[in-house]
Amino acid sequence: MANLKKLIIEPLRKTNPVTVLVLGICSCLAVTAQLKPALVMGLSVTVVTALSNFIISLLRKGIPNRIRIIVQLVVVATLVILIDQFLKAFAYDVSKQLSVYVGLIITNCIIMGRLEAFALSHGPGESFLDGLGNGLGYSLILVIVAFFRELFGSGTLLGYQVIPQSFYEAGYQNNGLMILPPMALIVVGVIIWIQRTRNPEMQENNQN
């Protein structure tokens, strides 16, 4: 039981797909200018990683080794198309905002990485939890980055104005750099910095 819990908790911290494995950075830059698309993106990726991990794990004994990547892609692509259609039907605005990045979930390295590294060698239950954990770990970073970028870049959170109007009248200005993609990279870098400072065992020894 403790082991199963670890499958979900660890990717949020010490094996975080974004800050430790440095996977899924491209979408992290693209969709984090505002909190809402980041939340939806995180949720979509979580659903896809969890379900694809589950399905591939069920099929793992029947997949010929040589064509396993193709089988994985078919499963992932099917799930992504389902998500895409779902978003178009029920959250059209966000789907417009995310544009191609929903489709590009297929190429998200986290998903293929988890399939290869975990689902092919573990049972469906564990694989489902592992996918869930990694998706949540990815979402966590996305939400943190988007929180700071939207707060300082637009002065809003989830579209609602947070920084009071009196600040602007006193001369405060939104930081335009926050909306530009490079700032996402820098925020992720700062998160990695803080994480590694707090966990010294994560630092490699590069002295020699």
Binding site: G171, Q173, N175, G176, L177, M178, L180, I186, G189, W193
Partner: protein, 395 residues
């Protein structure tokens, strides 16, 4: 007086070495002690080359070289205000006396300098303390330069933010002075430029309306005029002397050249970099002259030296020994490309009125690659030569 100071420093020193009461402030103490005195430690293990000029003296020399530009900039702040403010609020009439202009500019520059040094040094000291390093002198120059390359109306809190960003993200994350690959002063300016574009470009930011007020006065820089397709209203001589609107202290080519002479004379800045930046800019300017498709391309090539921050960048920014290319051949390539890109960005991309900043930052990124290629080529050439020699010896 110095003897008394020495005695005082010696008296309080035991408190700051290991085991003392204030041992955790060791870096801070060390910084102030070596600021006043040459360290008296001698090398104990394996000898190194010891030069009378250490980092601190070199940095002080750069600050001295910056002084003419700083003084002229202060005067120009007052002068521009007296020219453009219809309600120059002081009794001296429409054109103020030169010393009043200087005083007015001094009062505008002082808070910017103070903010830059307090924020920057505060962060440097904190990092040095946490890492148990000595405090480095790198920020002495950076902190001096940052207020010189921003518009006079930059709000102080934005300046503070930019300085913090430049010191932390531009320098300390890479390990502090000497480890940064981007010029920190330019990182600060780039941060302001992208974060608060309305305060860094346009026609409303170059003139200080009154001492503490924030009323905007419209006045276009030569670069902005050209970007709009108009020949600069200032004459070449005005631009050479520097009596034009622009970032606080980078308008006067004369004052910058005075600094350049000192830097070259003392050998602190590389003449190869300076010369090649100027050559690169001139070449690109001539090329655009030959095309001559619009007003910007037709402008005489030497105008590019006189407008905006080209000369300031060439003399004080591109030559930064940490971020420039290290090899002599590399310096030529690095400098030429800076000049070429600066003029290219100015002329072709009207969204970025000042190309110098971006081109130096870009080439900062490529400097290690240039060096690598130069070194690799040298090794290859020597190998080739050695092989050839050994063949002739055999036969």
């Amino acid at each position: 007086m110095f003897n008394n100071l020495r005695r005082f420093v010696d008296k309080i020193k035991p408190n700051f070495v290991e085991g003392g009461k204030f041992a955790w402030l060791q870096s801070t103490f060390e910084a102030f002690e070596t600021f006043a005195f040459t360290p008296n430690r001698v090398t104990k293990r394996g000898s190194h080359v010891r030069d009378a000029i250490d980092l601190k003296r070199a940095m002080i020399m750069v600050v001295i070289a910056l002084v003419p530009a700083m003084l002229f900039g202060m005067w120009n702040i007052g002068y521009q205000t007296s020219l453009h403010a219809s309600d120059w609020p002081y009794e001296l009439g429409t054109v103020a006396s030169w010393w009043y202009c200087l005083w007015f500019g001094f009062l505008r520059m002082l808070p910017m300098l103070a903010v830059s040094y307090i924020v920057g040094l505060g962060i440097e000291f904190t990092f040095a303390q946490i890492r148990h390093h000595e405090v480095n002198e790198g920020f002495l120059v950076t902190g001096f330069i940052i207020p010189m390359i921003v518009p006079v109306t930059t709000p102080l809190w934005q300046l503070a933010l930019a300085v913090a960003f430049a010191v932390i993200i531009g320098k300390e994350v890479f390990g502090g002075t000497g480890m940064n690959f981007l010029n920190p002063a330019l990182v600060a300016r780039a941060f302001l430029f992208f974060a608060y574009p309305t305060r860094m470009s346009g026609d409303n930011v170059w003139i200080a309306a009154d001492l503490w007020g924030t009323d905007a006065i419209t006045s276009a820089t030569p670069l902005a005029e050209l970007a709009a397709g108009v020949h600069p209203s200032a004459s070449a001589l005005d631009m050479f002397i520097g009596t034009i609107p622009g970032s606080t202290c980078e308008t006067s080519v004369i004052a910058i050249l005075l600094g350049a002479i000192l830097l070259l004379f003392t050998g602190i800045a590389s003449w190869r970099v300076m010369l090649s930046v100027v050559l690169g800019g001139g070449l690109m300017g001539l090329l655009f002259n030959a095309i001559g498709a619009n007003e910007y391309m037709q402008v005489p090539f030497y105008y590019h030296y006189l407008m905006g921050g080209f000369m300031f960048g060439a003399v004080f920014m591109a030559t930064d020994p940490v971020t420039a290319a290290q090899t002599n051949t590399g310096k030529w390539i690095y400098g030429l490309l800076i000049g070429i890109f600066a003029v290219m960005l100015r002329v072709i991309n009207p969204a970025y009125p000042e190309g110098m900043m971006l081109s130096i930052l870009l080439m900062n990124c490529f400097a290690p690659l240039i060096d690598h290629c130069v070194v690799a080529r040298n090794i290859k050439m020597r190998q080739h030569r050695a092989l050839k020699l050994s063949k002739t010896v055999k036969s």
